[in-house]
C-alpha cells in the first residue's frame, strides 16, 4: 500500500477506535448522571461536574427517582436542604432536591414543578422563594430551549412532543463531546479528594465548594465576596423598582404554581428563604425594606385567596438568632459559622431546622407561618428584631 493511502487508513481506523473508546468511557463514568450508570466508589461515585449542568442532570435524575416530595428553589436550597435527612416524615419520602443553582427564576419554578409531577407519584412540594426574584420582571417565556425541550411536559402541561429529539441530543452531548470527555476525566481524578462536589441521586449537593474555601481562606472571605455582590446588586434592584406601582413582578407565577398544585392534588408549602442579616442590611440601606414587606403581604394574600387550606406559607427571612450569627472578622480565617456559609447560602443544619418547623416537628423557634392576618405583625416584629440587631454594633450603637 502507498504511504499516503496507508496514512489515511491508519488515521481513519484510529479515529473510529478512539471515538468508540471515548463514548464507552463517557457512558461508564456518566459525569452528568444522564444515563444512570452505576456509581462505583473510587471511580465515579461522586459527580463533581454535574453541578454546571444541573438542569440536564436533574431532569434525568428525577425521572428515575420518582419522588413523593420535591424541593424547589435556587442554589441556596440545592446546597442547604438535605433531601435524605431523617427529619422528613415517612409519608413525604422519598424526597428529591430539584433546586437549580445559577440563574433560578419563577418560570423555572413552574417548569421544574411540572417535571416533578409528571414522574408519577408526587404528593408534596416544598418551594423556597427568594424575594429578589420578585424585584425584577422576568421576560415572558420565549421559544422552548434545550432545558424546556427535555422535560416530560411542555409549558402548557401537555406531553412534550420535542422531548425525543432532545434526549438524543443530550445523549450525544454526554457521550461525544470534548466537554463530556474532560468532565469524565475530572470525575475520575476527583474521587480521591477529601471532599468532592457532587449531585447525589436524590438531587442534593455536597458542600465541597464552600467547605474548601472556608477551610482555606476562612468564612470571612466568603462573606466579604458576597458583601461586594450585594453592594453592587441592591442599588440596581432599587432603581428598577423605584417607579414600580401595583403588585410586585412575577407573583403571577406563584399563582400558576398554586393552581397547578390544586389541580394535581399536591400539598404545597411555600417558604421565604432565610438570608443573613448582613445581606438584609444592604436591602435596608437601599430603601428596599418596604418592598420586602410588600412582597410578604402580597404573597400571604395570594396564598389565602388561591390556595385555601392546601397551601402553607412560611417566612424565614428575619433577624433571628440564626440569621444574625456573628461573622468572623477578615483577619480571622479559622472561626467557622454554624448556620451560614455566606449571607445567602445557609448550611444544612439550618435546612434541617426549617424542615422540622414546616413539618410540625419539635424544633428551635425559627420563622413563622404567614397569613393575611399575621403578616403585618410579623413585619413589625422583624423591624423590632432589626433594631435590636443594629444596637449590637458596638462601633455605631443603635444607628437608624
Amino acid at each position: 500500500m502507498q504511504p499516503y493511502a496507508r496514512f489515511l487508513c491508519v488515521w481513519f481506523a484510529a479515529l473510529l477506535v478512539l471515538a468508540f473508546c471515548v463514548a464507552a468511557l463517557n457512558f461508564a463514568i456518566d459525569p452528568y448522571d444522564v444515563f444512570g450508570s452505576p456509581r462505583v466508589a473510587g471511580i465515579n461515585a461522586q459527580k463533581p461536574r454535574a453541578r454546571d449542568h444541573s438542569m440536564l442532570t436533574k431532569a434525568y435524575q428525577i425521572e428515575r427517582f420518582r419522588p413523593a416530595t420535591v424541593l424547589l428553589g435556587s442554589s441556596r436550597v440545592h446546597i442547604g436542604v438535605d433531601a435524605s435527612g431523617p427529619e422528613w416524615p415517612a409519608a413525604m419520602q422519598p424526597v428529591y432536591n430539584y433546586a437549580i443553582p445559577g440563574s433560578y427564576n419563577t418560570t423555572l419554578m413552574l417548569a421544574t414543578l411540572q417535571q416533578a409531577a409528571a414522574t408519577g407519584r408526587l404528593a408534596h412540594a416544598v418551594i423556597f422563594l427568594d424575594f429578589q426574584n420578585f424585584f425584577v420582571p422576568e421576560a415572558p417565556p420565549g421559544p422552548p430551549n434545550e432545558d424546556d425541550r427535555r422535560l416530560l411536559l411542555d409549558p402548557s402541561g401537555n406531553a412534550n412532543a420535542l422531548r425525543g429529539y432532545q434526549r438524543l441530543d443530550d445523549g450525544f452531548l454526554a457521550l461525544m463531546t470534548m466537554g463530556a470527555l474532560s468532565d469524565s476525566v475530572a470525575t475520575i481524578l476527583s474521587q480521591h479528594a477529601a471532599l468532592t462536589l457532587d449531585i447525589q441521586p436524590d438531587g442534593a449537593s455536597t458542600d465541597a465548594d464552600f467547605v474548601n474555601i472556608a477551610r482555606g481562606d476562612g468564612t470571612s472571605s466568603l462573606f466579604a465576596q458576597k458583601r461586594v455582590f450585594e453592594a453592587n446588586r441592591t442599588p440596581v434592584l432599587a432603581r428598577g423598582l423605584a417607579a414600580w406601582t401595583g403588585p410586585l413582578p412575577n407573583l403571577g407565577r406563584v399563582a400558576d404554581v398554586i393552581a397547578f398544585c390544586r389541580r394535581r392534588g399536591i400539598a404545597l408549602t411555600l417558604a421565604i428563604a432565610p438570608t443573613h442579616a448582613e445581606a438584609l442590611e444592604f436591602y435596608w440601606r437601599a430603601g428596599l425594606w418596604p418592598r420586602i414587606e410588600q412582597f410578604k403581604t402580597e404573597l400571604a394574600e395570594l396564598v389565602a385567596r388561591d390556595g385555601a387550606e392546601g397551601v402553607k406559607l412560611w417566612d424565614f427571612s428575619d433577624y433571628s438568632s440564626f440569621t444574625t450569627e456573628p461573622v468572623p472578622p477578615v483577619s480571622d480565617r479559622k472561626t467557622q459559622t454554624t448556620w451560614f456559609w455566606e449571607p445567602s447560602h445557609f448550611k444544612k443544619p439550618l435546612g434541617h431546622i426549617m424542615i422540622r418547623r414546616m413539618t410540625g416537628q419539635a424544633a428551635p423557634e425559627f420563622g413563622a407561618l404567614l397569613t393575611p392576618e399575621t403578616v403585618a405583625e410579623r413585619n413589625r416584629q422583624i423591624r423590632a428584631q432589626r433594631q435590636a440587631y443594629i444596637c449590637l454594633d458596638t462601633a455605631n450603637p443603635c444607628k437608624s
Binding site: 504511504p3 489515511l8 461525544m176 463531546t177 481562606d217 472571605s221 465576596q225
Partner: protein, 540 residues
C-alpha cells in the same frame, strides 16, 4: 455553512468530494461544474437569499470583464471608464450592505440628520468576494488575465474553501491549477488535505474558542463603562490577540486543506505573525493575502502615481541615505496611512476599526522611518540586528496586543478604557484567595500596589493558564505550514534550507505515528463541534 459544523464535516464535504471524484473519472468539466454547484449550495445554506444578492453582482462583473477584454486595446479611454465604473459598482455594492447603517449613524451624530437606521443583513463574505472581483477587473484591464469563460469565472468567485473568509485569491493563480487538476481521488492530496483541515479545526475549536468565553465579558464590561483592573485589561487584550490568531489562522488552514482535497493550492494567509520582530514583518505574516491585495491594488499604484508626479516636478524621491523628509512623507507615510485606513474600513463599519487601521498605519510609518534613520545611527547592521531583534519582538508584540483591543472593543471609547486598564489607571487587584496562596510573592505584589479583591480566583487562574499555553504554542512551535512545508501546503511554501530543530522534529510525514497523532487531533476537534461558534472573520 460553517466549516466547523456537523452538517459540513459529515454531510456536505463527503458528498461534494464523492461527486467530484466520481464525475472527474468521466469528464473533468462535469466535476468542475459539480464543484461550482456545490459551492452555491454552501453559500446558500445559511441564508438562501444570499445567492440572489450575489448572483447579479457576479453577472454584472463578468459582463464588465468581457467588455474590458474587448475594448482594452482598441479604446483605452473606454476601458479605463469601464474599469472605474466596475470598481465603483463593486464598492457601492459593498458600501450599501456594509456601511450604510454606519454612515447614517455618523450623519445623525455629526449633523443631527435624523436618518432612521437601516439594519441590513450582510451577505456572507461580501468583503472578500468584492476584493476578488475588483482584482479580477484590474487584472483583465491590465492584460494580466486574457482567457476566461463564465464557468471559470463563476468557479473562481464561488470556490467554497475560500468563498467567505479568504484567503483572497487571484484568478491567474487559481485557474491554471483548475485547468490541470486531476479531479480524481489522490491519496496524497487527501492525506495533506485531512491533516491541514483537522489541524485548523483543532486550532479553532480547542485553542481559540475557550478564550472567547473568557474575554467576551471583559469587553462587555468595558463597553458598559465599567473600568477594568490591570489584570483584567491584560487578559482582555492578550486573550483576544491569541483568540483571533488561532481562530483566523485555524480557518485559513482549514481552507487550505479543503482546497487541497480538490488538488488546488491556496495562497498563504498566516505565517506565525506573533513571532514578528517588527510591525512591517508582522504585516508580511498576518492575513498575508489581504496585505498582498492592498499592496498590489492600492499601495503600489498610489506610490507609483505620486512618484511620477514628483519626478515630473523634479522633487527628490524616496530611497537610500539621501531620503528627504518630504519624500518620506509623500511617498511612504501618506500611502501607508491611506492603505491602512482602507484596511481598517474594510474590516468593519465603525470608528474603532478606522482607528485600528490608522494606528497600524502609524506604527508602520514609524517602523519605516526607523529603517531610514537606523543606518545613520547604528553603522554595524549585524550587531544591531543581533541586539535589537528581541527588543523589536517585544515592541511589536506589545503594539499588536494594544491595537487588538481597539479591533475587538465594541466602541473606540471602550478600547480606551481597556488601554487605561492596561497601564494601571484603574488600579491593580488580585483575588484574595490567590494572594494568600502564592507565598512570599503575595506581600511583594501587595507592596507593588496590588490590592486584594473579594472575587473568585478561578477566572484569573484559568485565563492565565490558557494564555500562557497559547503564547507558548504561538511563539515556540512551528506553524502548520512549516510542519507541512515539504508538501507545499500553500502556494510557494517550501521547506527552509536549514530548518530549526523543533521544525525538523515536527515535520509532517505520511507515517503511522503522524496518522495516530492526527487521529487524536481530529477527535479533539470533532468532539468540540458541539459547542458551535462562528469564525471571527465571517463578519467582515
Amino acid at each position: 455553512m460553517l466549516f466547523n459544523s456537523y452538517a459540513f464535516i459529515f454531510g456536505f464535504l463527503p458528498l461534494t468530494l464523492a461527486g467530484f471524484w466520481v464525475l472527474g473519472h468521466r469528464r473533468r468539466d462535469w466535476a468542475l461544474l459539480w464543484l461550482t454547484a456545490a459551492s452555491l449550495v454552501f453559500y446558500a445554506w445559511w441564508r438562501p437569499i444570499n445567492v440572489l444578492l450575489i448572483a447579479p453582482s457576479i453577472l454584472i462583473n463578468y459582463a464588465l470583464s468581457l467588455a474590458l477584454r474587448r475594448t482594452g486595446e482598441d479604446s483605452p479611454a473606454l476601458a479605463r471608464a469601464l474599469l472605474i465604473g466596475g470598481i465603483v459598482f463593486n464598492l457601492c455594492f459593498l458600501g450599501y450592505f456594509k456601511y450604510l447603517t454606519f454612515l447614517q449613524g455618523t450623519a445623525n451624530d455629526l449633523f443631527d440628520a435624523g436618518f432612521t437606521l437601516t439594519h441590513l443583513i450582510l451577505p456572507l463574505g461580501i468583503s472578500f468576494i468584492t476584493f476578488q472581483k475588483i482584482a479580477f477587473l484590474v487584472d483583465v484591464h491590465a492584460g494580466r488575465v486574457k482567457e476566461f469563460t463564465f464557468r471559470n469565472y463563476a468557479l473562481f468567485v464561488l470556490f467554497f474553501p475560500q468563498l467567505v473568509a479568504g484567503p483572497i485569491v487571484h484568478y491567474r493563480e487559481m485557474m491554471p491549477q483548475f485547468a490541470v487538476a486531476p479531479c480524481r481521488f489522490s491519496a496524497e492530496n487527501a492525506a495533506i488535505g485531512v491533516s491541514l483541515f483537522f489541524m485548523g479545526l483543532f486550532k479553532k475549536l480547542v485553542l481559540a474558542d475557550p478564550l472567547s468565553r473568557l474575554v467576551a465579558p471583559l469587553y462587555a464590561q468595558a463597553a458598559a463603562g465599567t473600568p477594568l483592573t490591570l489584570t483584567d485589561a491584560w487578559i482582555a487584550a492578550l486573550g483576544f490577540t491569541l483568540q483571533i490568531y488561532f481562530d483566523f489562522s485555524g480557518y485559513s488552514d482549514m481552507a487550505l486543506g479543503l482546497a487541497r482535497f480538490f488538488g488546488i493550492k491556496l495562497p498563504v494567509n498566516f505565517n506565525s505573525p506573533l513571532k514578528s520582530s517588527s510591525i512591517i514583518d508582522f504585516w508580511l505574516r498576518w492575513h498575508v493575502s489581504l496585505t498582498r491585495f492592498l499592496t498590489a491594488y492600492l499601495y503600489n499604484p498610489l506610490t507609483l502615481n505620486l512618484t511620477r508626479r514628483r519626478v515630473a516636478q523634479g522633487k527628490p524621491l524616496f530611497g537610500g541615505r539621501n531620503t528627504t523628509l518630504s519624500a518620506f512623507v509623500w511617498l511612504l507615510a501618506m500611502p501607508t496611512l491611506l492603505t491602512m485606513l482602507i484596511s481598517g474600513i474594510w474590516h468593519g463599519a465603525g470608528y474603532a476599526y478606522i482607528l485600528w487601521g490608522l494606528l497600524h498605519g502609524l506604527l508602520l510609518v514609524v517602523n519605516h522611518g526607523w529603517r531610514v534613520l537606523r543606518p545613520r545611527i547604528f553603522l554595524d547592521a549585524k550587531s544591531y540586528n543581533r541586539a535589537m531583534k528581541p527588543v523589536g519582538f517585544v515592541l511589536t508584540f506589545l503594539s499588536v496586543v494594544f491595537a487588538m483591543a481597539m479591533f475587538r472593543a465594541p466602541t473606540a471609547g471602550s478600547a480606551v478604557t481597556i488601554w487605561q486598564g492596561m497601564i494601571g489607571m484603574f488600579g491593580a487587584t488580585l483575588p484574595e484567595a490567590i494572594l494568600n496562596r502564592i507565598g512570599p510573592a503575595g506581600p511583594w505584589l501587595t507592596a507593588l500596589g496590588f490590592t486584594p479583591a473579594w472575587t473568585s480566583g478561578s477566572f484569573l487562574m484559568e485565563a492565565t493558564l490558557r494564555i500562557a499555553a497559547l503564547l507558548a504554542i504561538a511563539l515556540c512551535l512551528p506553524n502548520t505550514l512549516e510542519m507541512l512545508a515539504r508538501f507545499e501546503p500553500a502556494i510557494g511554501v517550501k521547506p527552509a534550507k536549514q530548518p530549526e530543530r523543533l521544525v525538523r522534529l515536527l515535520t509532517w510525514e505520511p507515517t503511522s505515528a503522524w496518522a495516530l497523532t492526527l487521529a487524536v487531533v481530529t477527535l479533539a476537534g470533532v468532539l468540540s463541534l458541539g459547542e458551535l461558534s462562528e469564525f471571527l472573520y465571517w463578519q467582515f
